[in-house]
Amino acid sequence: MTTITVSGAVAGTVGATTQEPMPIPSAPTTQTTRRTSPYAVGAVAFARPRRLAVRRDPTVLTEALGRVRGLAQLSANWDGEDAVPIASGAITHAELLLREVICKYPLLDRSLRPFFLIGRPDGGVQVEWRVDSRSVEVDVRPDGQLSYLFVDRSGEAPRFHENASASRSEAIDVITHVAIAPYRA
């Protein structure tokens, strides 16, 4: 049996059928060595067992995706006026949009919580963000095509910008523009 020793600590055993968790090597501490920083212990620190970081979706994203999945359950005539069920293409592209925009700016996740996340009678999905006097509503059509309407009511007269055929990156730009507005000087 071969043992490997690192800095005087048993780091592992070659040939063993099971491996015990790697013991934390004792740092070469003496009375004169004091930790002033977690990085001050030197190279032996790298021998610590590393945990894999578990990636968690922001809460806002989890909520939004749950609402999108809820829309997928709507049956025909869900609005009482002959609306069609929400198309799977609209669901998929709405999820992609939400994932991308919320994960791109995780620190803005509260501002990026959709105000409206609703089905459209044509089988699409409409997502709307509102921050102060600005809003943007993005329509995800049944085939996944995006369009948006940006509204700014901060001035005397409202301003509108409508894009009937937008790319996802264009939609994300205008969404983040609305979300970031309160943080600008």
């Binding site: 009482g80 409206f116 609703i118 089905g119 044509d122 509503e137 329509d139 369009s147 509204v151």
Partner: protein
């Protein structure tokens, strides 16, 4: 023109039924004025003076629709037409014609006020 058709004045109020999900915290989504692919080119409303709140809400009984009220002057100010269009069973039916953009639908929704009345909801 049908003999029962009446002129709609700017000071007339129009009732619009609004699906519950299209209202949040008193705010009405532009979706309330959209139907199929894009903005509804002929938006169904009821002329308030020819009907009642109860009669307008009745077709959506059990669904919890809100009732919004919109002065006829608003769509006209946006360049739309408002005309009486009585249909069998609903003498108060009227149409707002010409809404072709989401921006127009947003302005209609923005100007619509909730009456505080809702259709009944079933469990």
């Amino acid at each position: 023109m049908h003999e029962d058709v009446v002129a709609i004045g700017d000071d007339d109020d129009l009732y619009r039924l609004i699906f519950p999900d299209f209202v949040r915290d008193g705010v009405i989504s532009s979706a309330a004025y959209q139907r199929s692919r894009m903005p509804d080119p002929a938006i169904s409303v009821n002329l308030a003076r020819l009907t009642t709140i109860e009669a307008t809400l009745a077709p959506q009984a059990g669904r919890g629709h809100y009732l919004g009220v919109l002065p006829a002057a608003i769509p006209r100010g946006l360049g739309l037409t408002v005309e009486h269009d009585p249909i069998p069973g609903n003498i108060a039916h009227a149409l707002i014609r010409g809404a072709t953009t989401k921006a127009v639908c947003e302005q209609l929704a923005f100007a619509t006020r909730l009456t505080g009345h809702r259709a009944t909801l079933t469990d």
